[in-house]
């Protein structure tokens, strides 16, 4: 069987596989939403999907375009207010896994989603800002970072620290007061980086099929640690790809309908 897939599909599948059945997952829009719903539709039917708009335990038929789509509300076990979602659920430690993206990540999994270049008052490029991320990064049981790899995003030094990974490595996160364990993996279009158990430095531990170590090193803005025993990410299965593509097809069909009366 000759299966082909895109880099986005590989990232989505790799992220989905990390979600255990029955865990509570704080989902963002875009790839994390696709990954979480793919997990729900394959190996993790009882994964609890939570969007920061306050929808708890939702099971959308199609992917939401915004984090507060009515589809999420209709299919939720419960809708709570944002003070509740952030205080009674996230801060309370009830979220097992949080997904985060960013504009920049450093070797310790710290993230920048605030600005690039210049300084805070005079940024070259002002980004939307951190939104829910700082507290997701600090309080979710673990964090999955999903981000395309490149020298402009995988940087030696963040322009601004929006959300905490392992700070300066070692036990510096433990001392910070953050209640969650921190990033368990950075999933890119090239491979998977996981923190070293002691130094907490992100280490390349898995290469996606067809990707070379050199490619990953070239796409990283710091001297990348590579695991002695390097895995190859199992390719997407036919089943994973078919469920994911169906989901995207349903989503496109639903959202292409004109919504104006």
């Amino acid at each position: 069987m000759n299966i082909t897939w895109t880099a986005d599909e590989m990232m989505t599948v790799a992220a989905a596989r990390r979600l255990g059945n029955g865990i509570a997952c704080f989902v963002g829009i875009g790839l994390p939403s696709a990954a979480a719903n793919l997990a729900r539709l394959t190996h993790a039917p009882e994964v609890v999907l939570i969007y920061e708009s306050g929808t708890l335990g939702t099971r959308p038929d199609v992917l939401p375009l915004s984090i507060g789509d009515d589809e999420l509300a209709e299919k939720a076990d419960s809708i709570v207010s944002m003070p509740e979602i952030f205080r009674y659920y996230l801060q309370a430690g009830r979220i097992d896994v949080g997904f985060l993206g960013a504009a920049q990540v450093d070797r310790y999994g710290n993230l920048n989603s605030t600005f690039i270049g210049g300084d805070y008052e005079h940024p070259a490029t002002r980004l939307p800002g951190a939104g829910g991320a700082p507290e997701i990064a600090a309080s979710a049981g673990e964090v999955l970072i999903v981000l395309k790899q490149g020298k402009r995003s995988f940087v030696e030094q963040l322009d601004f620290m929006s959300s905490a990974g392992y700070f300066s490595g070692g036990d510096s996160r433990e001392k910070s007061g953050a209640t969650g364990r921190g990033p368990s993996a950075v999933i890119t279009d090239l491979g998977i980086l996981t923190p070293d158990p002691v130094s907490r430095e992100l280490t390349l531990t898995s290469l996606h099929p067809g990707i070379s170590v050199e490619q990953v090193i070239a796409a990283t803005g710091w001297p990348l640690q590579v695991a002695a025993q390097l895995d190859t990410t199992p390719p997407p299965t036919a089943h994973e790809l078919s469920v994911l593509r169906d989901l995207h097809a349903r989503t496109r069909a639903a959202h292409s309908q004109s919504k104006l009366a």
Partner: protein
């Protein structure tokens, strides 16, 4: 007395929104009060402090039209599309006027509205751990737990001069029922000195289930019936989000001229929001044809 709550939106904005006010238009993706934002633009309110967890298209429009001196926020963008260009132009290039910012996280702003609704001066949270904002926003401080000695983040209460919401329904007394994704709207309303709510419809009785999210009429300053008043945001049970418009906004707003032309035609030169909707619908029909 409750009958006087109902009034045209133009009158509510004229009476209850003043130059220099702090104003929160809330609604998290859902029920964003676009009609009210347009009315504020049309009445050329100035020097506002705009408060909103997720400033998106409506704040982009208000900022670009020069209503705001300052923005208090936690995430500013066009969800799923990208930047809000008028915000960036104001912040980065002071066009049409300089814009100060006061930036938090969602968790902080939700807590700040809660503290405001509770009339406490500050809120406590486990927040901003490893985040650089406290270096720039000196309203992010710390407080020590008098029991554990632990240090936690402290942020000031938000008490807007005016909070404006959109909701599905009001009864004849002006009690408002908000249904679906409610964000921090109840807290933003109860934190404010004055509250304006636009609604899809007025009914005799709400017939809401027990434990529905209700804003009692006596907590409100004005209720205005504005059908589709959240467009291009949505009103659960009434109409869906106009994603096409949200995508189209990116091109409209990218340049100052195209932005001003659109605002002039769709907001400044119309009488009310119904006319704005007619223009947008007509344009979309043309495009589809």
């Amino acid at each position: 007395m409750s009958q006087s709550l109902f009034m045209p939106l133009a009158e509510a904005v004229r009476h209850f929104v003043h130059d220099g006010d702090s104003v929160a238009l809330e609604g998290f993706t859902h029920l964003i009060p676009f009609a009210a934002g347009h009315e504020i633009i049309r009445q050329e309110k100035r020097h506002l402090t705009l408060i909103r967890m997720t400033p998106d298209i409506i704040y982009d429009q208000m900022i670009g039209m020069g209503c705001a001196d300052k923005l208090v926020f936690s995430w500013g963008g066009n969800p799923g599309v990208g930047s809000i260009h008028r915000f960036r132009d104001a912040y980065e290039h002071s066009w049409p006027r300089p814009l100060a910012i006061e930036e938090y996280s969602h968790a902080a702003m939700a807590a700040m509205y809660q503290a405001g609704a509770s009339r406490l001066p500050f809120a406590t949270l486990r927040g901003f751990i490893g985040n650089d904002l406290p270096q720039y926003n000196h309203n992010i401080r710390q407080v020590e737990c008098p029991f554990s000695g632990e240090r936690l983040a402290a942020v000031p209460a938000l008490n807007p001069d005016v909070t404006i919401l959109h909701a599905q329904r009001a009864d004849r007394h002006g009690n408002v029922w908000i249904k679906g994704i409610v964000g921090a709207q109840k807290e933003a309303a109860l934190a404010a000195k004055r509250v304006i709510v636009t609604v899809e419809e007025q009914v005799d009785e709400l017939e809401a289930p027990l434990n529905a999210v209700i804003l009692p009429h006596w907590t409100l300053a004005a209720v205005c019936v504005v059908p589709r008043g959240a467009h291009p945001s949505y009103a659960h049970g009434h109409y869906s989000r106009d994603n096409a418009f949200c995508i189209a906004w990116d091109a409209i707003s990218r340049e100052r001229d195209s932005f001003l032309a659109w605002m002039d035609r769709h907001v400044m030169q119309v009488r009310d929001f119904a006319e704005t909707l007619q223009l947008i619908t007509a344009a979309q029909r043309t495009e589809l044809a």
